[in-house]
């Protein structure tokens, strides 16, 4: 299978700091691939290498079938990038920004005009196309960045925290557009801090920490690998001593959470039976009882900081 992105043993050092440490992964064509990690994990460095902005110290990277080191121009012509920090010129209008990017990519004039018009209309910016970007809100700028990334009709779209700092409506609009463009066949490489966003959008997720890949899988499989992080949240009509729960071998940990007790277990059915029995024996009433699957955030924290960080 030909991959949209293939990375082999990629390494990058900044003086004595290793930003990316021998990472390898593949992104299939037409996939939305999430890249999750804490600040300083190496996400942006990886994107910068893949988009040809910086050179790696070791390893290989292929984008749209082209080696980013040997054929950087061919690779760059097939990608669109939404960087972390806006790269739109604020002293140019929205239209001029799109025209500039289109011309730099060598898009023919007629095609550029058609692409720019349809993108601006689709992203609700056509009415303000002749206004300076300086006057744009953060959401409008972010939409314009996505238009700029799409104006050359790229095969692979790199998005570095595209919804960061956006209001709910703008973020939702951007997510809808990302999904739509993916349905049209574009491969999306999405770096984000937002677990919910990664969960909703991504077909597969890589979790990177200290420059190394901690896990790569579908959001569902990542959660399934961390079933010990599932918990039962139970509320009784009276306060209970959580120490008594910890003695049960099926219970990993029991911690008070507001007026509820959060019980971590790999075997929820046994624990639910135990709780019902416990309530009967102690003349308690169960007000609520919920079994919670581990969230992607729990999985992320477990991989980054260990299980203790999640169950704390």
């Amino acid at each position: 299978m030909e991959y949209a992105i293939a990375v082999q043993e990629l390494t990058k050092h900044y003086e004595d700091v290793t930003a990316v440490d021998h990472i390898s992964f593949e992104v299939e064509k037409g996939e939305i691939f999430g890249f999750l990690g804490p600040n300083g994990a190496g996400k942006t460095t990886t994107i910068r290498i893949l988009t040809g902005l910086i050179k790696p110290d070791g390893g290989k990277a292929f984008v749209a079938g082209y080696d980013v080191l040997k054929n950087p121009i061919e690779a760059k012509q097939r990608v669109g990038v939404v960087p972390e920090v806006s790269n739109a010129y604020v002293d140019l209008t929205a239209w001029e920004n799109l025209a500039l990017i289109g011309k730099l990519y060598g898009v023919p004039t007629q095609k550029l005009r058609e692409n720019a018009t349809s993108l601006l209309k689709e992203f609700g910016l056509y009415e303000v196309k002749d206004k300076l970007v300086r006057a744009f809100s953060k959401g409008m700028k972010q939409r314009l960045l996505l238009c700029m990334a799409l104006v050359n009709d790229p095969e692979v779209l790199f998005l570095d925290e595209p919804t960061s700092g956006l209001d709910v409506e703008s973020a939702r609009l951007l997510r809808e557009k990302i999904t739509r463009y993916n349905r049209d066949g574009k491969t999306v490489f999405l770096s984000t801090h937002n677990m919910e966003e990664a969960n909703q959008l991504c077909h597969r997720i890589a979790i990177i920490n200290h420059g190394r890949i901690a896990a790569i899988d579908t959001p569902e499989n990542l959660r399934a690998q961390s079933m010990e992080l599932q918990y039962i949240e139970v509320a009784f009509n009276k306060n209970v001593n959580t120490q008594e729960f910890s003695e049960n071998p099926s219970i990993t940990k029991a911690v008070p959470a507001g007026n509820k007790v959060r019980i971590y277990t790999a075997d929820p059915s046994t624990v639910i039976a135990f709780l019902v029995e416990y309530a009967k024996k102690n003349n308690l009433r169960i007000l609520s009882l919920n079994t919670m699957m581990p969230s992607l955030e729990d999985v992320f924290l477990k991989l980054i900081k260990g299980k203790e960080a999640v169950t704390k």
């Binding site: 140019l92 001029e96 011309k103």
Partner: protein, 47 residues
């Protein structure tokens, strides 16, 4: 695609953008073009 002509065309696009953003400003035109021009004239053709 990556011929010299293509590269030249692209450098013109960047130059046009730079003129629009940085150089077509009043102070730049006055102190960078008009003032040196007239200073040159005054030194060249002084009475």
């Amino acid at each position: 695609m990556n011929s010299l002509t293509e590269q030249f065309k692209r450098s013109l696009v960047i130059a046009e953008k730079n003129i629009k953003i940085y150089y077509s400003k009043g102070p730049v035109i006055i102190f960078g073009l008009v003032f040196p021009l007239f200073l040159g004239f005054s030194l060249r053709y002084r009475a």
